[in-house]
């Protein structure tokens, strides 16, 4: 873990508008930045909650300790807890990166997880990435969430970035 990693997490949060609500959302925002070529740090692997980077999680925790960002833990209405990440440092990010980060950060957490998972699976070679996503996450895919996740990915795909998202919507 280096100092630059903690600053990179802070920059992701800043570029998303200064606030990202949720650990899952932070992971998925960073993942989408990574696969579109506007973030070069953090490697992701697949876990049951979708693409995940342990380095990112560690950097966020350390960044909070070092004062690069703030993490506020709050109780959720469903009985769990969630973290809110705040950072507001000026960055020299491209408009594409900022737009992608902001749109992803403003999305519903579950729909973002589904969209990021479908992107991950498509990049892994799954021909029917959405079908596989729904198979792996049946409870989360209920109630029209898959359709809304596709809408989200459609919107994200319109943002100009160096590496386009997979054409799966």
């Amino acid at each position: 873990m280096s100092l630059s990693d903690t600053k990179k997490v802070a920059a992701i949060i800043s570029d998303a508008g200064g606030k990202i609500v949720g650990r899952t959302k932070l992971q998925k925002v960073a993942y989408l930045l990574r696969v579109t070529g506007v973030e070069d740090e953090f490697s992701f692997s697949y876990k049951h909650y979708g693409p995940y980077s342990e380095d990112l999680a560690n950097a966020a925790r350390m960044g909070s300790l070092l004062g690069d960002l703030r993490e506020i833990e709050s109780p959720a209405s469903w009985g769990g807890t969630y973290s809110t990440y705040i950072a507001d440092q000026p960055t020299e990010a491209t408009e594409g990166r900022k737009a992608l980060a902001a749109l992803a950060a403003s999305a519903d957490a579950v729909e973002l997880e589904l969209a990021a998972t479908a992107v991950f699976l498509a990049r892994e070679g799954y021909e029917h990435a959405w079908v596989e996503t729904a198979r792996r996450k049946p409870e989360k895919s209920d109630n029209g969430r898959i359709d809304r996740a596709k809408d989200l990915l459609r919107s994200l795909s319109k943002i100009p970035v160096p590496r386009p998202l997979p054409s799966i919507v």
């Binding site: 100092l3 692997s45 909650y49 999680a57 350390m62 070092l66 009985g79 769990g80 049946p138």
Partner: protein, 490 residues
């Protein structure tokens, strides 16, 4: 201790002569286990199939992968294998499934069988010295070093899958899904993954027994007798996604659950995160990274290993499952004497250090910071925040310094880890990530609300540096960095 794993015992009343691997006809099979005594496989479809799974190459390989990696450098008795643990998990899962059946009307035999099969094969993808091997995989981007990934591959396709699918097409995929925590969740998933899953209920007791440590005991029978099933909410960040049926404990087992949590809390510092064990893992990780790097750059000859050695083959073909299956702890231990003659200085030195247990000396940085900021161990939040911040600053500084280290052999190795007494949650933290107690009134509350002991338990966190005990320069560098950052954080 005599552990009679090798010979399946046939019943004395010889019914029909048959091959033990014949799916159509099998006598009762018994395995003597040091923890559970007899683990039996009956003449029913599921257990006939699983007995055949045990005979496969991937499963037999687990005999040669130790459950606790390098822990026997500290606890000589801790040489038990993942093979024994996996059998124990299956045995424990059957006990837990009795709880599920007793709480469900009608039952779901297919789902039960899938979960029991998952319990048996859940660890089949572990590499040699599991966790250190995974560290190397993350550093070098080797997917085959991720045990979850390899387990998934081995269960979904190949000889294990073919045997599992004898219970019905698609069984292997269902088993893989439950191990990977994918697919629709039922209470049967709790047998494989929950705060009271069969994995933890076996390893806590087995590791305690085999290390010989006298703490960390749990009241297993009372816990299981008081397990209940309840629906608890699930969510992602601030959004609820539904509910899932899982194990909770009844009100009479609060103290047993308390001891269960305390047991794990004690095993982490004393066994799993022991400084010597972790120190050996650090050396092993550096050694393996160097082997792979040398092979990738065309310098096989510098490793001291033959080109046909499984480690060399793995470095050349890191995506080949068959090559992966040739790796185990025995292969690694056997390679050390060869690498002791390697041309590469790091391989020469670290292989000898591992072989002869000449480990680097440990500096407990977090211990030092704790002494500075919380000398009376009060554990107040402001003290813990200072300790965390100070350790983070020391870590960042030493990491930056080590980046510029041009020595062929790393002089300082850093180690950082954190473990909650509850099962760790890396995503959202919710009711499935804690131990839920059913109150007399029927409500579900976190064990922390019923136990002041559990509520007061902090996460176990370590931050250590390792160096050659004769290398006073590195020792001074570490100490100076600690002193300066402690002063800066005051």
């Amino acid at each position: 201790m005599k552990v009679d794993f090798l010979l399946p015992r046939f019943m004395t009343n010889k019914r029909v002569p048959c091959e033990s691997r014949n799916a159509l006809c099998m006598s009762l099979q018994r395995i003597r286990d040091p923890l559970h005594n007899l683990i039996e496989f009956a003449d029913v479809e599921l257990e006939r199939v699983l007995w055949r799974v045990i005979q496969t190459r991937p499963f037999q390989r687990l005999r040669r992968v130790r459950q606790l990696g390098f822990s026997d450098l500290v606890y000589p008795g801790a040489s038990h294998s993942r093979f024994a643990h996996s059998l124990g998990v299956f045995h424990t899962a059957r006990r837990l499934m009795d709880v599920v059946r007793s709480r469900q009307q009608g039952g779901s035999p297919t789902r039960e069988n899938i979960a029991l099969a998952a319990a048996l094969v859940h660890d089949v993808g572990h590499g040699p010295f599991s966790h250190a091997f995974e560290t190397v995989g993350k550093r070098l981007g080797l997917p085959m070093a991720d045990h979850e990934h390899v387990s998934d591959m081995l269960i979904r396709s190949g000889e294990i899958a073919e045997i599992l699918n004898d219970m019905g097409s698609g069984t292997a995929v269902d088993v893989a899904d439950i191990v990977k925590k994918e697919g629709r969740k039922t209470v049967h998933n709790a047998v494989v993954s929950s705060q009271f899953d069969a994995d933890r209920l076996d390893y806590m007791r087995r590791d305690r027994m085999m290390t010989g440590t006298q703490h960390g005991a749990i009241d297993f029978n009372w816990l299981v007798a008081n397990l209940e099933v309840a629906d608890v909410p699930t969510g992602v960040d601030d959004t609820q996604t539904g509910t899932v049926a899982t194990f909770v404990i009844g009100p009479k087992a609060v103290h047993a659950a308390e001891v269960y949590v305390l047991g794990l809390f004690q095993l982490y510092p004393t066994v799993y995160f022991h400084k010597a064990t972790r120190g050996a893992e650090k050396l092993f990780a550096e050694l393996l990274v160097r082997v792979v790097t040398l092979v990738r750059t065309g310098h096989v000859a510098k490793t001291g290993l033959d080109a046909r050695h499984p480690l060399i083959k793995f470095a050349e073909n890191p995506d080949n499952l068959d090559v992966f299956l040739s790796l185990d702890d025995g292969v690694i231990w056997g390679s050390l004497s060869m690498m002791a003659d390697a041309e590469d200085a790091l391989l020469r030195e670290f292989s000898v250090r591992l072989r002869d247990r000449q480990l680097y000396k440990c500096v407990d940085i977090r211990g030092r910071a704790t002494h500075e900021f919380d000398p009376e161990s009060k554990g107040a939040p402001e003290h813990l925040a200072k300790i965390d911040t100070c350790c983070a600053r020391i870590n960042a500084r030493l990491t930056e310094l080590l980046k510029d280290d041009r020595n062929e052999i790393p002089k300082i190795l850093l180690d950082e880890a954190k473990r909650s007494p509850y099962n760790d949650a890396v995503g959202s933290k919710g009711p499935t990530e804690r131990i839920n107690v059913r109150t007399e009134g029927g409500a579900l509350v976190d064990l922390k609300q019923r136990s002041r002991v559990v509520a007061s338990l902090p996460d176990f966190t370590l931050f250590r540096a390792y160096h050659d005990r004769c290398d006073t320069e590195s020792m001074h560098l570490i100490n100076r960095t600690i002193d300066e950052e402690v002063a800066a954080c005051r």
